[in-house]
Amino acid sequence: MSALRGLIIKESKHILRDRKTLVILFVIPVALVLIIGYVVSMDVKDTVIGVYDKARDSESVRLTNRIVSSGYFKLGKIITHDDQIESAFRTGSIRMAVVIGDHFGKRMLQPAGGAAVQIIADASEANTAQLLVSYCEAVIRSFALEESVVARPPVEVEVKMFFNPFLNSIYMSIPGIMALVLIIVTAMMTSLSITREKELGSMEILLASPLAPFQIIIGKVAPYLALASINAVTIVLLGYFVFRVPMLGSWQLLFLINFLYIYLSLALGILVSSLASTQMVAMFASMFGLLLPTMLLSGFIFPIENMPDWLQALSRILPPRYYVEAIKAVMIQGSGLAVVWHHLLVMSAFGMIYTIAAVKKFKIRME
């Protein structure tokens, strides 16, 4: 049996026998996708609103019906008095109130217009409030266009959302979750497994053996490469079948991107472990050095365009950003190599740099 094969078999046995960690490694990705897909959804759906119809004419009733039947909103409370609005917000029974002004129908028919609708939102959650208001505005606008008897306005704005017409946030989340999970499984787990051998003292025996550094490293990394690939496939399939995330580009390209990313994460993990001497240090280093930047600076949670310049610059030297962009381009936009080639190039360069640094940093002796 060759030394490398022996190392890989040994490492695989460590992974397979550590049942608890193994379960976590398979459950975390699935749980993350489901949680972020179902719970942390930023989409507007059946939000409870209050309607204060001061006009009570047929047009106002039609508008109310239109809003409530849009699927975005659900009528939770019929408001009959001004004071009720604030108290309804305070008790949290509604998230938004629509106030339809006096003589709504009559004013709509007048050429000068002046039919008034007021939207009141709970801005203690600013982002949600903005989202709700813009959805509601869109519904009212289309109502006004259809019902209007007067000439259409001179400028008509038509908004169309390409690639993600209903602004499903899971389209954004899936690539982000993949970036996150793959970093955890690969970088964190490999750095932990190498530092564990240092703590245990077995690294001393491996170092004192004829094994070359690259053999020790590949032996460590290969099983995690397999594990991470399984995770990547699981997440893509979950997104594709459960959340109907489109897969417009080529599967081969998707796997090439994933493979590159896994590879460079592994190299990062080895780099971390060559700098850390205990599992504790490796853990914290990968948490704060890898996990947080992946979450915050990959564009997964916060759009990179809105960041201050220095953070944008920082995000440019971190690989997850390129990974998330490339995955989105291939899955959602159906882009091919013509678009993502420079992402691939950047990731390959990162992988190369990390590998060289890791091999250079790997100590053939003890300190």
Binding site: G6, H14, G201, I205, A208, P210
Partner: protein
């Protein structure tokens, strides 16, 4: 054969090894005897190429431990101080893994480890973590031997092992030397020193003396007395206060007193101790043990 010449090594302000030189002959069972912190482990790591000395050289059969570290690592079997095999792998899997690391099969060298391994063979399906301390050490020894090294380096192999297992372990070492493997053992246990062909006393990074255990005992010029009295607790300090005392220390149920002068007799000591108001004094001249020799050498 192994030649260690003028090796020095410091960690910051601590000088772990100070001008260490000695030779180990082919097929010898060589003991490195010294207390914790004497520099044994550092010396081992330098010997097997895991560390580089600040100055001095280590040559193993003509190979330089720093320059030819790759070649050196092929001919050594190393067993570090703490148990460092894989606890979640079985006995058998550990052995197979280390055989594969050195590119050999368990079968081709089984004859070499047979005597050691036969003790643990009945438990070969058991995870190494669930073995007793003695069995763990036997497994570690088997793993260090499986590639038929020219030099076996054992760093405190019997620390934390029960007396019976320790005895068996040393019997195994004797058999391994018969098979032609040069062995260097570090141990803090003085009783084990007597089982080596030659021993080196090491303390505070310095080699104090090197010889066969027998010569070390015979060449001791100091006289040793075993002393008992009613006040055993204060006795070592009282003995140390005697003008001719070199060292005095508790040793089992008595106090050993080492004196330089050959004119000192048991009666004289008894009289002096009586003057220091000791009661029920017995003073008995004894032959020095290895431990006595070590303490005397360390004092000098």
């Amino acid at each position: 054969m192994i030649r260690i010449a003028n090796v020095c090594k410091s960690f910051g302000a601590v000088q772990a090894l100070n001008d260490v030189s000695f030779e180990v002959k082919e097929n010898e069972l060589f003991g490195l005897i010294g207390p914790d912190g004497a520099g044994k482990s550092t010396l081992f790591r330098i010997l097997i190429s895991l560390m580089t000395p600040d100055s001095g050289t280590v040559a193993l059969w003509g190979l330089d431990a720093v320059r030819d570290y790759k070649a050196v690592r092929k001919i050594i079997g190393y067993m570090p101080g703490k148990f460092s095999l894989y606890e979640d792998l079985t006995v058998e899997e550990n052995l197979q893994f280390f055989a594969s690391v050195f590119g050999v099969t368990v079968e081709e060298n089984y004859h070499l480890i047979e005597e050691v391994y036969s003790h643990i063979a009945p438990f070969r399906k058991r995870p190494a973590g669930k073995l007793s301390g003695g069995m763990k050490q036997k497994l570690a020894l088997s793993c260090a031997l499986i590639h038929k090294p020219r030099l076996l380096a054992l760093d405190e192999p019997t620390t934390g092992v029960d007396a019976v297992s320790r005895k068996e372990f040393w019997e195994n070492l004797g058999a391994i030397r018969q098979a032609g493997v040069t062995t260097i053992v570090a141990t803090p246990y003085m009783d084990e020193a007597a089982l080596c062909d030659r021993i080196a006393f090491i303390n505070k990074g310095r080699i104090l003396s090197i010889d066969t255990p027998q010569n070390i005992v015979e060449r001791t010029t100091q006289r040793i007395f075993a002393i008992r009295a009613a006040n055993m607790r204060t006795l070592p300090a009282l003995c140390r206060s005697l003008p001719e005392a070199i060292a005095a220390y508790s040793f089992g149920d008595s106090v050993h007193l080492a004196v330089n002068s050959h004119h000192t007799e048991a009666d004289g000591i008894r009289q002096q101790l009586t003057r220091l108001s000791c009661e029920k004094i017995t003073v008995e001249p004894i032959a020095p043990t290895i431990e006595d020799c070590f303490i005397i050498t360390a004092k000098n």
